[in-house]
Symmetry: C2
Subunit: 361 residues, 2 copies
């Protein structure tokens, strides 16, 4: 299985985030997460690592606004250069706003005003290498999308790798960091800056309808935001009920799309304590919706924070559970690009990802 | 001059706030601020201190939503009781959210979800006594409003104090803490929980049209929010341009009201470095708008953070400047309720407030 990975993620290494209650804690979405996944995948006989290709900005601009991308590109230097007289902050370890936009009709000119406009929580500190890491992460997702794209219809002239097993539909894994599914069209949050899965899905729409299934423990609110009024990308998210869990303000069952997209978004909010059996039951329903949609290919937002011992989760999914979840999804028989999202139990992270992926070999 | 003050403000004494960049700092809007103002006023021969009357919730509910008031009333106990499994936060020194509502169409059930829905920046930590202090502060504002209300038209049966100088229109000062002008209909921010000035203005509308002038260094975004579609309360704010200064997302010159309120809100955003002369020029324009409106009385949001040595400000207003500002406003000859807002140079705070108030004796 092709696995797209770039070392550039290490440039995004904030020293801290701020938890509820106002306490600074070490950044949980750490570079170590990737090391653990790499170690587990290297132990298998099917992991075929590859550097991502650089797709340029166009496929990213198809998902995120220019104002937002300009902000991400220049935020760090603007923050370093910001006059101290306009802010009481003197500690410039990371750009993290203290004031957030309740109204979005006016974007301020100052870097702190823009930060509170585009960064909507305290887990997206911007450091010097954040933008470079986010771009490399998006390129991993785009590379995985390209790896599963139908060769004949590909508009790109460069040669594609041959598909290893012609009896199986193609699949590829983007080992993305930072993750992406909480990033909206022009909002960063929940460790996410660019929505890698959405960027991959958007790129794949040139070949037909796409289904995007999000199995991360947290609602894929960014993905929901990006495709909410579209019918050519079916988006489905299975997650902890936002009435008690991050991201709180989206991911409700009543949110089913709008305009042309009405009926093409589905949220499955679940209570705490969900076990493998209960999860697989919900998943079966979601997979039925995907099968009915008849997409040309599938994008998976793979978080493994539904794991029973995840520090940010409340679900009870076991390693066997992740094997089962992967198995059911693979059984759809669709070309599948799997995009890495969350998962914070570093000890178990790699094995849980491998348990899911082994079904797609 | 009647000065309404309650010791209850001391119950709101958060240990810290979080500045831009994610650093915890001692809470700048401290109880000491009141001590400094009390000391300065006690040195004068015209300060007549009085406890506020309790007006109950009705005049507060006329300005803030029930959902918001319910949140403020129960937030602390809900936060203490919140299950640790729904949050990675273990430090419960203060309720301060880490995730903020970019969308406001769904209010989550959990305390952290509600916190990020109602508290939009990191300077409004909720502690055990926050709600009691905010209520007492609002009652100070209401008491000042009542003190300037026309006796004949007062719907309250209890006796009002006689006006000391019958040749001058009545005035009163509400020594409010926490301040109020950043609090919107259902949003806390910038050290503000209940919008004391708006509550006073709303109460006074029973006697006729009201003008509310905000001279705090920061835009009165909460007041703007509350009266934005109404013509019976003219709201005017003179402040640092939000394109570079807190509150960033409102206070722009283009925001002039909506619907029936169109033309009844005015923002005067000013650049850094404004001195007394430049300020008085802008003030003269604002006072002209107020005179044309012919209000039955006036409410002043009095912040003295435009002071040349304020740690949060960039203006260059001197003590003489505050005397001049008070003089010009008093010259309108309107019944005036003056409501304390910001000002963070504790050494100069009391004298600056006294310099302003002396014009209203």
């Amino acid at each position: 299985m092709k696995i797209f990975y770039s070392e550039t993620h290490r440039q995004h290494d904030p020293a801290f985030e701020v938890f509820d209650g106002g306490q600074r804690v070490p950044y949980l979405e750490s570079p170590e997460r990737m090391d653990r996944i790499l170690n587990a995948l290297r132990k298998t006989d099917w992991a075929d690592f590859e550097e991502p290709r650089d797709f340029g900005l166009d496929p990213i601009r198809a998902v995120h606004s220019d104002a937002y991308l300009t902000f991400l590109a220049s935020a760090w230097t603007e923050w370093l250069g910001a006059s101290p007289e306009t802010s009481a902050a003197s500690d410039k370890t990371a750009l993290l706003p203290a004031t957030f936009a309740a109204k979005r009709d006016q974007m301020p000119e100052s870097i702190l005003g823009k930060a509170g406009f585009f960064l909507l929580d305290l887990s997206v500190p911007v450091v010097e290498g954040t933008y470079a890491a986010a771009l490399a992460s998006a390129n991993c997702a785009l590379s995985a999308a390209q790896a599963i794209a139908p060769i004949a219809q590909s508009p790109n002239s460069h040669p594609l790798s041959p598909i290893p097993n012609l009896r199986l539909p193609p699949s590829a894994f983007a080992l993305c960091r930072p993750p992406g599914h909480h990033a909206g069209r022009e909002i960063a949050g929940g460790y996410c800056f660019l929505n890698n899965a959405a960027i991959a899905a958007q790129w794949l729409t040139q070949f037909g309808k796409i289904a995007l299934l999000d199995v991360d423990y947290h609602a894929g609110n960014g993905t929901q935001d990006i495709f909410y009024s579209r019918s050519d990308v079916l988006t489905i998210s299975i997650h902890a009920d936002p009435s008690f869990e991050y991201p709180y303000y989206a991911g409700y069952a009543t949110e089913t799309g709008e305009g042309a997209g009405l009926g093409f978004h589905h949220n499955y909010p679940l209570p705490t304590g969900i076990d493998d059996a209960a999860y697989l039951q919900t998943l079966a329903h979601a997979l039925g919706v995907i099968a009915d949609y008849r997409p040309s290919s599938l994008v998976i937002s793979l978080g493994v924070d539904a794991y029973e011992h995840d520090p940010l989760g409340t679900f009870k999914i076991t390693r066997n559970g992740f094997t089962g979840i992967g198995q059911r999804i693979a059984a759809l028989g669709l070309p599948t690009a799997i995009i890495m999202e969350g998962g914070y139990n570093t000890d178990a992270l790699g094995e849980n990802v491998a348990a899911f992926l082994q079904n797609f070999r």
